[in-house]
Symmetry: C2
Subunit: 434 residues, 2 copies
């Protein structure tokens, strides 16, 4: 049984979780895997605050060099977060030939290419299971467990904050803002929540999964991102009546037979009976369609001290085994395989759409709308038109379309919104029949 000396940078929530996990389960991990990661140094600007986990204070340092340049450290765990100093630390560790484990999705999403190039140059490992979907071993599944498959599609519920908000809106019939307020009070949402609710965090994870699936490091540029801030409760209700739930999904899929790819993040209507629709509260799930394995799903906690630590420690075991067997980069951090590359422009995707319009209670309104859609090549799958409420002169129309190009629906909705009988801005949401 080999001890692996771990240098931790960042003693926050996840760092404390890693310390706790190794303290509680270190012996079991060693007995089970043959390597036992042991905390050797922890660098943080704040080494005074009690983190509530058992740690020998002499291991704490404010000097990051005590980790990065310490010949006794076998592996560096980067838990600083962000894309600035974290990047420096990771590059410096790799340059020193030290393998790195990180949970930093933003760093990889923006600088993955540079970081993997540095890892390849040094020959050291970089592992990042905790960067996507927390404790769910989805990176390992994509790189190893499903290695036999062309990936047809991935649909991910990748942000626990968004899923928690959507779950409560749907179950309690509450609007977005009060649920967000409550989520913030309960600690399920950050004081500055935009990274989560505007879809960026989901996008970071989506591009990592896309790159692993399709063998090209895409970065953030090709991603279409739409969050949940604008979601209106009535659309959750109408969606439910039509047999759908609304989830914020990261969507990656083969767009056609020519190897082009769709990558996008947006609130999505999915059938109520589908596996993903049943993923509630802060839980995450990644639905992967492989050409050989068929449909699979991986479910669990996407964040939090312990779930994230579970993934970090699993990576430490992998790195430890690679050190033991002198097989660094046994499984490449990211290996381009050049099968696919072009990401389809958002306007060129094919999708079904949910549309809600507020229209005047006048004759022939629906006909005029249907004409515009029809002229745009969009056929209507279902229409729901309620009676106008007493005292109002307008009413909502809910349309669900057949498959159409995003460009077509956008054009048609622009035209429809200019009709004198249409009030306000049409609501358009995308549907995936997972």
């Amino acid at each position: 049984m080999r001890e692996i000396r771990v240098g931790l940078i960042g003693f926050g929530t996840v760092g404390s979780g890693v310390v706790k996990c190794l303290h509680n389960n270190g012996k079991l991990i060693g007995a089970r895997s043959g390597v036992q990661p042991v905390i050797h140094k922890i660098a943080d600007l704040d080494i005074v605050t009690d983190r509530g986990v058992p740690i020998d204070k002499s291991l704490l340092t404010t000097n990051v060099s005590d980790v990065l340049d310490n010949p006794d450290i076998d592996v560096v765990v980067e838990l600083v977060g962000g894309t600035t100093i974290a990047k420096d630390f990771v590059l410096r560790a790799l340059k020193n030939g030290k393998p790195v484990v990180t949970a930093n999705k933003a760093l990889l999403a923006y600088h993955g290419d540079e970081i993997f190039a540095a890892a390849n140059e040094s020959g050291a490992d970089i592992y990042y299971e905790a960067s996507v979907a927390g404790g769910i071993p989805i990176i390992k599944a994509l790189r190893e467990g499903l290695a036999a498959n062309h990936i047809r599609a991935i649909y991910g519920i990748l942000n626990g904050t968004c899923n928690y908000i959507l779950t409560r809106m749907e179950r309690e019939g509450l609007s977005f803002q009060p649920v967000l307020d409550d989520a913030q009070a309960l600690g399920y949402a950050e004081a500055e929540p935009s990274l989560d609710i505007d879809g960026d965090d989901t996008a970071h994870k989506t591009t990592i999964l896309a790159s692993l699936a399709y063998g090209e490091w895409f970065g953030m540029k090709p991603l279409f991102i739409e969050g949940i801030r604008h979601l209106d409760l009535v659309d959750l209700r109408y969606a439910a009546e039509a047999g759908y739930k609304i989830k914020l999904l990261g969507i990656i899929k083969l767009a056609g037979n020519n190897g082009t790819i769709e990558m996008r993040v947006h609130p999505t209507l999915i059938p109520t009976g589908s596996m993903l629709a049943n993923v509630s509260e802060v839980f995450n799930a990644v639905y992967v369609k492989g050409d050989v394995v068929g449909d699979t799903m991986f479910y669990g906690r996407g964040a939090g001290m312990d779930a994230t630590a579970s993934a970090v420690v699993a990576d430490l075991v992998d790195v430890g085994l690679n050190l033991t067997f002198e097989s660094p980069q046994r499984v490449s951090a990211f290996r381009p395989h050049g099968t696919y590359s072009d990401v389809v422009d958002m306007e060129d995707i094919d999708c079904r759409y949910y549309v809600r319009l507020e229209v005047l209670d006048e004759p022939r309104v629906l006909g005029r709308i249907a004409d515009i859609l029809g002229n745009g090549g969009i056929s209507i799958a279902s229409v729901t038109q309620e009676e106008a409420k007493p005292g109002t002169d307008s009413l909502p129309i809910i349309l669900i379309t057949h498959q159409a190009k995003e460009r077509s629906i956008r054009r048609a909705l622009t035209e429809i919104s200019q009709l004198d009988v249409v009030r306000g801005t049409p609501v358009m949401l995308r549907i995936e029949d997972i």
Copy 2:
């Protein structure tokens, strides 16, 4: 990129799937992982039948020595099935120092200890991802992805035939036998279905998962096994009314704080809203509770040519990487870690129970039944008693109990069944609040 020469024994459904997968995706697998498994020999008694997959006929042989004793073969894939000649083949391959990949759950369930001992003696790998839950990479998840965790519990829907039958009974309101007949006609159930419907196949997989989770090779002896053959449609209905679905589960969990374990296979009532309850048709899922990661679930196809091939080929990649990096047994096939060992006797488990009694329509019947349960220390959580149907003199009572020992409920039901007001044999099913 290294080619791995594969010798296949057994050219049936799964063997054909492996050939097809390597033919279609071999190049991608090589580009992605650095190793490309290539079929080098296929041994089967029947080398005449066209399997519908592209294969050079010169690779076919009826002589198993052409695989087992062939110095050109890097890895042996055993897909013969059964526990007799398959065992000989696996042991012979290992003795020859050849790594083995197998999908054979029965073989491991009955002879895992002997086979792993042989692997350890020879130093060769044995991988068996396909033996549990088909294409779902659950073995890899337990051994690697969740390596940081003490496993608190595993609940598995591990047999697609049973899940298909239960799904159709529930959805279509059909009894067991006609659904089984139809499943056999459609090829979802074997002509001799007992291995599936009596729970033995689920038990084979359950003991493999239990051994991985708890570091002791348990074999089949400690397992309590009850299948779905006896299930009555009315119990699915009453369960649904009470908010439960009935699934055949393999259940493994820590029984208490003293490290004892429960291992059992039986039809189980689980809450309708739970993730596992939503797993339908032939799909499998394994719900794993870890002490660090929390709740996770792994979902996918548990059988079939392609899903099983996906797991076999993933194992071939792992074996190939181990050959490339000279790291055989990097992840041990099975490593005892001596943390747990005793399996609780079935009579000593604690559970909640669903009980259905047919009783005469007389006064004080419920009171007498409640007295017997109460005297046995079993308290009732809910009772449903319907009115007797016109023309009958008996009526059903549905009881749901609080937690009680299996011994207590068995004794109480024996006593209850002897009451003059009780007709027939009481139905008892177990409840898990997953």
